[in-house]
Amino acid sequence: MKTPILAFTLSMIMCLGARAELKWEQTAIELHPGPNDKQAVGHFKYENTGKTPVHFKSVHASCGCTTAQTQKDIVPPGDKGEITATFNIGDRTGTQVKTVTVETDEAPNQKTVLTLKAEIPQQLEITPNFVFWKQGDKPDTKTINVKVGKDFTVKHIKVTSSTADFQTKVEEAGSGQFKIDVKPQDTNKITASMLTIQPGDSQKVFYATARITNAPAAPVAPVGPTAPARPSAPTGQTH
């Protein structure tokens, strides 16, 4: 009775061995791009350890922000190569996990998922990055908290309002934290201002928005044939 079990197990192992022709050096890569990097690139290396050529049927990235390129469509036996996955960082922050799904002709519906994990460093964490008052509200001060990222040193920050409608004041809160007090001149006028936040020794700038708002008035229609253009950015004098 032991013979059928042994035969079954051996056949399963042999089947698995025969299928695994494309051997990946690693299917998960963790990257740590610098604060000014625009892209994070992962190289997924493979080798055809089988006895027949392997054809790439499809290579799909999990989102539009990631592209994947194969060096060749057919990998002869014994040949090596790599799939290059390029993740465009944009304005993303924190931990980003993107995948690339590779389909070959090794076996029907066999897919390999390659994972690219990128830790995007965040120099400043700004919370909230939006403060608002309703029209006619008491013009109280509202506070924006700024926390310096763990891998960065920022001794001071500079805040500039794009209009004179809001006053800002920066205070050090210790332990790599700052407080930005924002106060409107008055709340009778509908207005918006972009607050530019610049760490002392850095060229990089961060943004927050202050706004006096009224009752809902956005021209939004969920259904219909027309497509209004994007709203324009808030305008105003720069100090």
Binding site: I5, S62, V97, F130, Y207, R211, A215, P216, V223
Partner: protein, 142 residues
């Protein structure tokens, strides 16, 4: 005979469990690429029909997909140009407005991420993710 069959089944099941257990141990610290989202923050196209002007549609797809076509009245807000687009979105937002974020199957997790950042960074409430995304809206409206 029954005992032998049961024993064989147990052996095969144990063999199958070995790689599963190994994978579970190996990937225990790895995060899921698709973040969980509470059902209360998901909405269907049908649910949004009655919202009319009380809702703002946010397109989380890349610029070129937005330029190609989008929900009428939608505002582009993607993470490629978050710092530039967020202030533009905030000039349109008003208290009491619901926000419906959508992406497409090609832009994967984008709507979830944009919704999460609107809640966390801008501290806005009533932020929803459209179930089925752009493709679901297209199917119901065109």
């Amino acid at each position: 005979m029954k005992f032998v069959l049961a024993r064989q089944a147990a052996v095969v099941a144990a063999l199958a469990l070995l790689p599963a257990a190994s994978e579970a141990i190996y990937f225990r610290d790895k995060i899921s690429w698709r973040s969980a989202i509470p059902p209360s923050e998901m909405v269907t196209v049908e649910q949004t029909r009655g919202w009319g002007d009380t809702a703002i549609w946010v397109d989380a797809r890349p610029d070129e997909e937005f330029a190609s076509d989008h929900v009428p009245g939608a505002i582009s807000l993607n993470e490629d140009r978050w710092n530039e687009l967020l202030p533009q979105f905030l000039t349109v937002w008003a208290p009491g407005k619901k926000i419906i974020v959508y992406c497409s199957s090609l832009s994967c997790n984008a709507s979830r991420e944009v919704a999460r950042r609107l809640r966390k960074e801008a501290q806005l409430s009533d932020v929803f993710v459209l179930e089925g995304g752009w493709e679901a809206w297209l199917k119901k409206n065109r």
